[in-house]
């Protein structure tokens, strides 16, 4: 009996022995060719659905008013729709958000940025130690981090079991008083994604680790938008201060896991992998499709398992929900942009801190809530009602702030609408907030030509030294 049990787990002959933390998918792929080949398809950027896309759409071009919302923060320079995992490293290199660091140590972003981009990260963390890993510049580790997200991020190489390789998730569970080791297999099929598709911030106040940008998920009070807002308010946290309205802002990043947890699918035990990594049949073989992307490119394998509806109906289900949520959020983001500019005017006319206090709190909370919904690219379908509820609350808050602003402005002698820049032109708005994008783009070009190839070359040379052990034939 013993024998036959192990047989079940290793129906295929392994070709290589996976030792330590192997960051190269191509090596894993020798043992698991189907999963590897499907995972490589995350390079494909052709699929387009109604709102989301794997085509890396320029969000700022599409919705220029976001430039105002993020003025003073790197997101106002460049922000794109995501594409497949295979692009994670390339897209970091390409983005204006990291600047153009010509030397190690240059550039605005910390090493922590790499955390969700590469299988080299677990390797580095284990080699360097956590705090040390978090305590550099992104450019310091650039020759070390060359493999995009891959097998080693989610799998135990010995058993292929799902595993958690990012400490922030483990620590967030601890902060909530939960033990992630108790997670069921079904939960793991979502938790591997929750290593990255979550809201985060950099904690720079950990005693004794002040030099680190320590990756932290703000879940201590709970996963709802209000709980995290409370968390950030309690520690008086700000990602940046808005240069126009002087608001202390909180940036929300992709809380896909958190919003998803509020959905009926989650309540019924459906996991991320059920939709984004459905079981697939190819040549009489069944396996988990690792081409992670929009389930809408693959309704038959994903939704049909549970919903025998017409494909058309399932597509429109998704689009209807997205449309209804986006109707509210699109309106809202314009109101928030106006509030920033109105607040700017009020300061200009001599408003006092005292007068502006509640206004700024309103802007802070409204934009945080808006961002929470919008930054979660899947949220409008994953949890449409929770998304809409949040948008409603934020709409109430920002308009209350604008009512106060109107009164303050009237007080200061400006009892009429404040003049607004043209919200339909990204370039003009970037100029308006004082960015010199052509210059940054030029620097980027040089950087991509001169520095990045060098980084990759060094990295590959380092890797070439690492031996791959093949299994001797029996």
């Amino acid at each position: 009996i013993m024998d036959r049990k192990t047989e079940a787990r290793f129906a295929y002959q392994p070709k290589v022995i996976l030792e330590g933390i192997e960051p190269r998918d191509s090596v894993w792929g020798l043992n698991y060719p189907r999963q590897y080949q499907s995972y490589m398809k995350t390079k494909d950027t052709t699929f387009q659905s109604m709102y989301n896309t794997s085509g890396f759409k320029d969000v700022l071009d599409d919705q220029p008013e976001l430039v105002i919302l993020w003025a003073g923060y790197a997101f106002s320079k460049d922000y794109n729709h995501p594409r497949g995992h295979a692009w994670a490293i390339t897209d970091v290199h390409n983005t204006l958000r990291i600047g153009s660091p010509m030397e190690p140590g240059d550039g605005p972003q910390p090493s922590t940025c790499w955390t969700c981009k590469s299988t080299d990260v677990p390797r580095l963390m284990s080699e360097m130690g956590l705090t040390e890993y978090y305590s550099h510049k992104l450019s310091h580790l650039a020759t070390e981090v060359i493999n995009p997200i891959g097998c080693a991020d989610c799998h135990n190489p010995k058993t292929m079991n799902l595993t958690i390789t990012r400490p922030a998730l483990v620590e967030a569970f601890e902060a909530m008083g939960k033990d992630i080791n108790q997670a069921s297999h079904q939960q793991m099929r979502s938790l591997v994604c929750a290593q990255c598709h979550v809201e985060y911030y950099f904690d720079k106040t950990r005693p004794g680790e002040e030099d680190a940008a320590y990756l932290t998920f703000p879940w201590k009070e709970g996963l709802s938008v209000e709980s995290m807002e409370k968390y950030f308010d309690n520690i008086d946290f700000a990602d940046w201060t808005h240069p126009i309205s002087k608001t202390k802002m909180i940036k929300a990043q992709h809380p896909d896991y958190e919003l998803y947890e509020m959905s009926v699918h989650a309540k019924r035990g459906v996991s991320c992998a059920d939709c984004h990594m459905p079981y697939k049949n190819e040549g009489g073989q069944k396996f988990t499709d690792h081409h992670i992307g929009s389930p809408l490119s693959n309704v038959e394998n994903s939704c049909f398992v549970c919903h025998r509806e017409k494909q058309e109906d399932l597509l429109t289900d998704v689009y209807e929900r997205q449309r209804k949520v986006k109707e509210g959020s699109s309106k809202l983001q314009k109101l928030i942009a106006m509030a920033h500019i109105e607040a700017g005017k009020a300061w200009e006319l001599g408003a006092s801190e005292e007068q502006m206090k509640s206004v700024l709190e309103g802007i802070r909370h409204a934009q945080w809530r808006w961002d929470f919904v919008v930054a979660s690219h899947g949220g409008a379908f994953h949890a449409p009602l929770e998304s809409s509820r949040i948008i409603t609350s934020a709409t109430g808050i920002i308009q209350e702030a604008r009512i106060n602003l109107t009164r303050i402005l009237a007080d200061l002698g400006h009892n009429k609408p404040v003049e607004m820049p043209d919200f339909n032109d990204k370039d003009k708005l970037q100029l308006y907030i004082g960015l010199d994008i052509p210059k940054e783009k030029a620097a980027k070009e040089t950087f991509l030509e001169q520095v990045v190839p060098q980084w990759l070359k060094e990295g590959k040379a380092r890797e070439a030294k690492k031996e791959v052990k093949t299994v001797s034939s029996r």
């Binding site: 129906a11 958690i164 390789t165 297999h185 079981y279 069944k286």
Partner: protein, 209 residues
């Protein structure tokens, strides 16, 4: 070798005996199994076979395809193996069927006599069909819901459900060779220290540098 061969032949014969006549035979075999000793029971997790835990079934690698396909199905959260494969009309029948079935499966399995492609046998087809109806009775019998699916009523009465619902819950392709790795740790024989966080991470988190 020939002894086992004989036993297998006998068992094969048993299987041809109509179900009613199973009862005395099963009772005798039950006794024999008890005799095999505690070690055997522990090792094969025989006790778990009487539970409703789907993991009990994957004790045999041979059930793996069914287990894997079921965990990818719409029924994963709503119906466990025994909800379909064991009669639910009364308790006595439930355990009798289980004992009979369990005995048969484990014998075949230990003898390595299983076919590449398992099929549901006639008695178990009835059990399954009844269980589909048990849960879906309202959906398939109510006059008002007949409208939703054209001709559902005439169709479902002279066929078995999964002639049409071929994906429920095991999918169309489910031979031993067709499904790959079962990476879900099987509680029954997973090392007790199996943990989700790898050792290197646990150590780095502790050492704090």
């Amino acid at each position: 070798m020939s002894r086992t061969h004989n036993l297998k032949r006998k068992l094969f014969k048993f299987n041809l005996i109509p179900p009613r006549k199973w009862r005395p035979a099963a009772t005798i075999l039950m006794g024999a199994i008890f005799g095999l000793g505690i070690y055997m029971i522990r090792l094969s997790n025989a006790t778990s076979y009487l539970s409703d835990d789907p993991q009990a079934c994957v004790n045999c690698h041979i059930m793996t395809p069914q287990y894997i396909t079921w965990t990818r199905s719409s029924h994963r959260e709503v119906a466990h193996c025994n909800d379909c494969h064991v009669p639910h009309d009364n308790i006595a029948n439930k355990y009798f069927f289980k004992a009979k079935d369990g005995l048969y499966h484990s014998t075949i399995f230990t003898l390595r006599a299983e076919p590449q492609v398992i099929r549901a046998l006639e008695p178990s087809i009835n059990v399954i069909q009844n269980n589909c109806i048990r849960c879906h009775e309202n959906q398939v019998t109510e006059a008002k819901l007949l409208d939703v699916v054209e001709n559902h009523h005439p169709h479902r009465t002279d066929r078995i459900c999964w002639e049409c619902h071929r994906e429920v819950p095991h999918g169309k392709v489910r031979s031993l060779a067709s499904v790959g790795h079962q990476i879900e740790p099987i509680r029954a024989h997973a090392p007790p220290d199996l943990e989700i966080i790898p050792k290197w991470l646990k150590e780095s988190m502790k050492s704090k540098k």
